[in-house]
């Protein structure tokens, strides 16, 4: 691994982020990243955070048109409440703060505590829970669906609304609409290696794959022998469409887990598109790349958001962050 010592990977990454992006204010000690011009007067602020190891999520999405602040936790470990409170205090202009929370027990509990503390400090806080991963059955017998690729859609679209001056309830409602209309499914072709463990978190022989994986190196729902990109696209798209029959053209994220070459990811996109075409689901916009990653895991995920016209307009709105940038 390209690291100094496992203990410092998150701090080292933040130092490097600060060096590369003078347009961000990075508090390496407190692990808080905010846009340099925060708080933006009158603007609702968006704060997200989660375990590290999913870069560019979330710090790479801080900037005009998306997040105002991000709190990176340890690798695959949700951040602690003090980080979130600090971030909220740094970005709140008085218009309130939306916490974008991926649905994992740790993230939920820590953000919940942070929301209480922030409200004690007089900050108005709303929360949206992202739970798009259809590999997990949402039932009494699980912690509920995980938040994965849809987080990017939520942060971009709600961020655009906030940038336009929408009030907190409206930004929150839009974020929730994106969640309601988004589904994901992920596949691992290899395990990832965490710095703390120093090696793969599970044992996946080459030629086998895990269907329905999350983004924390946990094994998936099912192990299979090798499948072609076309077969994987069928499983992933059908898992998503089983749960969401979009009547609107969709936003499509074909996401790499980190270790899959971009060449393969584009090839996979071709197969995903083929399957969506066959299922008569029109695609309005496509994003292909490593956006919600799992360290060096080989694999991919498919996220679909049934985007109405307003969501599409907000998706197309200008954004200027380290990892997502257009329109300005």
């Amino acid at each position: 691994m390209l690291i100094n010592v496992p203990e410092s990977v998150v701090a080292d990454g933040l130092r490097g982020l600060a060096a590369a992006h003078p347009e961000l204010t990075v508090d390496v000690e407190q692990r808080v990243v905010v846009r340099r011009d925060a708080p933006v007067a009158g603007k609702v602020a968006l704060v997200s955070g989660g375990g590290s190891g999913h870069e560019p999520l979330h710090a790479g999405f801080v900037g005009p048109g998306m997040l105002d602040g991000a709190c990176p936790g340890e690798v695959f470990t949700s951040p602690v409440p003090t980080q979130m409170v600090r971030a909220a205090a740094a970005v709140d202009s008085g218009a309130g703060v939306l916490f974008v929370v991926k649905n994992y027990t740790g993230d939920v509990l820590n953000f919940e505590m942070a929301a209480e503390l922030a409200e004690d400090e007089g900050i108005q806080v709303a929360k949206v829970l992202v739970d798009d991963d259809v590999a997990v059955t949402d039932s009494l017998y699980t912690a509920g669906r995980r938040g994965t690729g849809a987080t990017l859609f939520v942060e971009k679209i709600a961020g655009a609304a906030a940038e336009e001056g929408a009030p907190l309830e409206r930004v929150e409602a839009l974020a929730r609409r994106v969640v309601t209309r988004s589904r994901s499914f992920g596949v691992a072709l290899s395990a990832c290696s965490t710095p703390a463990k120093g090696g793969p978190t599970f044992d996946l022989p080459p030629g086998e794959l895990e269907l329905g994986v999350g983004i924390h190196g946990e094994p998936g729902r099912e192990r299979r022998g090798m499948m072609t990109a076309g077969e994987i696209a069928e499983v992933a798209v059908d898992a998503v469409l089983d749960d969401l029959r979009p009547s609107d053209p969709v936003l499509l994220l074909v996401n790499g887990m980190g270790g899959t070459p971009l060449l393969e990811l584009y090839g996979f996109n071709a197969e995903v598109r083929r399957v969506l075409d066959a299922r008569r689901v029109p695609v309005a916009r496509t994003l292909v790349g490593n956006y919600v990653t799992s360290l060096d895991m080989a694999g991919c995920s498919v996220t679909v958001c049934a985007a109405d016209e307003e969501l599409l307009r907000l998706w197309d709105a200008p954004v200027a962050t380290p990892a997502l940038r257009w329109g300005r």
């Binding site: 936790g73 340890e74 949700s78 602690v80 409440p81 995980r146 599970f202 924390h216 729902r221």
Partner: protein, 203 residues
């Protein structure tokens, strides 16, 4: 029936003992978490209890309750993940229940920890049988009314009993049937908590 009481020094010894045990067993906890979670439970607790031990060494609070409140707050502030708020709440709530007393009995400690375990249940929404730390914590605080040793072995039995369970809470629940056959990392770290308690009580 023992009438011994336990003060702040005892509570500090307990927390130091947990810190040492977690440091020693971090690899094992992480490996357990790798199998059905995300391979960070050992690192998480190591970070948290190291911070606790350091803070307590610097400025030891005057009462056992204050020790536990401080420890719980530090776990919340340094661990993150699911275990940070949960263990943090356990100790904070227990510490608060002990109040200002300078010395407490084992029975008082058991009552306080029972309040802590109840708070963990409310916070995380889990019940015994869900394959979480509660499977060790719940029988352990119950047995603590009997003795420190009984608490430790109840925790051990509880942790062992998580193996055949199917997880219904936390990250392991994502695995469904595939979580069966693995020991829960949080229940395993709870054993360390009660083993250290027994040792601290022994003096």
């Amino acid at each position: 029936m023992s009438t011994e009481t336990y003060g702040a020094a005892f509570a500090v010894r307990w927390m130091d003992g947990v810190a040492a045990a977690v440091e020693r067993e971090a690899g094992r906890l992480t490996d357990l978490d790798a199998a059905i979670g995300d391979a960070d439970h050992g690192a998480n607790l190591k970070r948290g209890f190291a911070a606790v031990a350091e803070a307590l060494a610097k400025e030891p609070p005057a009462t056992p309750g204050a020790v536990l409140v401080t420890a719980g707050g530090l776990l919340i502030a340094t661990v993150g993940g699911a275990s940070g708020p949960l263990y943090g709440t356990l100790l904070r709530r227990a510490g608060k229940a002990l109040g200002e007393a300078g010395e407490v009995s084992r029975a008082e400690l058991a009552d306080a920890l029972a309040a802590g375990v109840a708070a963990v249940g409310r916070l995380g929404g889990a019940v015994p049988g869900d394959k979480t730390m509660l499977d060790a914590l719940t029988p352990a605080v119950e047995a603590l009314r009997e003795s420190f040793a009984a608490a430790r072995s109840a925790a051990e039995a509880g942790a062992l009993a998580t193996v055949p369970l199917r997880a219904r809470k936390g990250r392991a629940s994502y695995l469904g049937e595939r979580s069966v056959g693995h020991r829960d990392p949080g229940a395993t770290s709870s054993v360390l908590l009660f083993a250290a308690l027994e040792e601290a009580a022994a003096g």
